[in-house]
Symmetry: C2
Subunit: 316 residues, 2 copies
């Protein structure tokens, strides 16, 4: 076995997940350990090094076969310089992580933010496998995104491309303010947070819905109620789907991607979400820009981050 | 003089314009002759060949220095195969222009549509010189566009990327149908056609405006009236600018380009248009996505098409 392997690191606030991929993006081994955020930056870096060495040692591969290491992190990153500018959930600020890890591991290291890394994972060996141009949404607490062009993450001028959650899609009269400060961003309606807010508002104003019986409404509660035919829940899901489809119509006219991939917790709603997104996309997109374009669920689930991180060296 | 030269061809319904560029995108010589559309496809092709040979012959360069020829045309093109699928103003349908010209000229030939070619021209040696990532609008009869990523035209999955005029930006209640069949496209408000329509509507419904004295309103009439303080004209220009700025806010969140370049006849309105576009962009775009991003007028005017065509071989 002399093939190259790539280690991906998913750097979360609680756990660091690491995985070994081959050059085709197959995830061969995984390992998970505590981040140690409470013990400070130095400990977190020690742990990253330890887990990377550990997983290779425990695998049938040698250290020499390790071609490089990639890491994804929630936060702002300077990709060119390899610096984590701000990652609140692991307590990093201005940490030159690439230089530190390259020095310790003596291997090439790449970093990127979690949304881009997840997009690359899906494009490399998930729902977008074999497809050069795709747009990936991650619908979680917020709406993240990544754009893959010619098989690689597209960064834009300042590394901020793919901020799909901050396109303004809600008309002024119905818009609320987004965490970014602007009005009517996609994130205000199509994230789990947005869905929960719409449901909580409906209950508060006395709409007749089974959701009024739920103590602490989750996005899953809303989807379950919608599947059971609750009209208020159906309207909320319809709204989340409408604006998602509307944003895709906009991106189709600019980027003309071959597939839109939807991942993250909200995507688990399944057909009730996807059918409506596809209907709205078809309604709002000029015909030639729809031809051959598909909207599909992500495939890798939580592994997308590890796989995409492993792919950074090859695909960035 | 042994440097390479590149000939660009701007294939219009009335005239074929050709130009010689060096490898830096400097336009060194130009030549223009009738297209001969009325005499059929064969004549048009004969004329292209003739003018390309002519301009090189009349220049201080030799045929051997000619590294390649590029052509831009208004219409649908299959760039990979080098086929003009449909170009109504020169009467071309399914013409494998690249193969024909390569055979006749014995030089590499590239083609693309006029909006992409103009964008490349501006990016290569116009307003976007030295900038890797830019989005270029051409505001004319319609709204065309081109996206330059890493210095090259971005084509998308089916070669349809950059259709900036067909992003839906007008809210439903105020939207009219676009030529593409969809409602509320940017093209319905920010093209010369859209501006003229808004002005004609205003006059028809009896709004108090100096435009009611104009026989056949042009976009320039509307801009002139706005500059003279006509409130109706100001409102129309404001609307064209608002939706243009709104579309840029959307593209900034996806593409994070370094510059937006605005060209075409409507861009000649100058500050009255640009000031408002910049104000709206600043208002609707999250702060980090605005940092360092500028909105500037195109520089090459009608030469953008020739220069961009000349650059196709180097930049596509």
């Amino acid at each position: 076995m002399s093939e190259n392997i790539y280690v991906g690191v998913d750097l979360g606030g609680t756990a660091i997940k690491v995985g070994i991929c081959n050059a085709e993006g197959q995830l061969l081994h995984t390992f998970e350990g505590p981040t140690g955020t409470q013990d400070g930056v130095e400990t977190v870096i020690d742990n990253i090094e330890k887990y990377v060495r550990q997983i290779v040692e425990d695998s049938p591969y040698t250290w020499d076969q390790l071609a490089g290491v990639g890491a994804g992190v929630a936060g702002f990153t300077n990709i060119k310089e390899g610096i984590i500018i701000l990652a609140p959930n692991i307590g990093f600020r201005d940490v030159p992580i690439r230089a530190i890890l390259e020095n310790r591991l003596n291997k090439p290291v790449r970093i990127d933010n979690d949304a881009n890394v997840a997009a690359l994972g899906e494009a490399w060996s998930g729902a977008g496998r074999g497809i050069d141009n795709c747009v990936c949404y991650t619908l979680g607490t917020g709406v993240g995104g990544g754009i893959i062009i010619n098989g690689k993450i597209y960064q834009g001028y300042a590394g901020l491309a793919g901020e799909l959650g901050h396109i303004s899609v809600v008309p002024d009269l119905e818009a609320i303010q987004c965490g970014c400060g602007k009005m009517g961003c996609l994130e205000t309606v199509s994230s789990a947070t947005g869905i929960i807010r719409m449901a909580t508002d409906a209950v508060a104003r006395g709409d007749r819905t089974t959701l009024s019986l739920v103590e602490q409404i989750t996005a899953k509660d809303v989807f379950d109620a919608a599947k059971a035919g609750d009209e208020v829940a159906l309207r909320i899901v319809g709204r989340a789907a409408f604006y998602l489809g509307k944003s895709m119509a906009a991106f189709a006219a600019v980027l003309n991607p071959e597939v839109f991939i939807i991942g993250g917790g909200v995507s688990k709603a399944g057909d009730i979400l996807f059918d409506e997104v596809r209907r709205v996309f078809a309604q709002l997109t000029p015909a030639p820009l729809q031809t051959g374009v598909s909207i599909i669920p992500a495939q890798l689930g939580n592994d997308a981050g590890i796989v995409g991180a492993a792919g950074l060296l090859l695909r960035s």
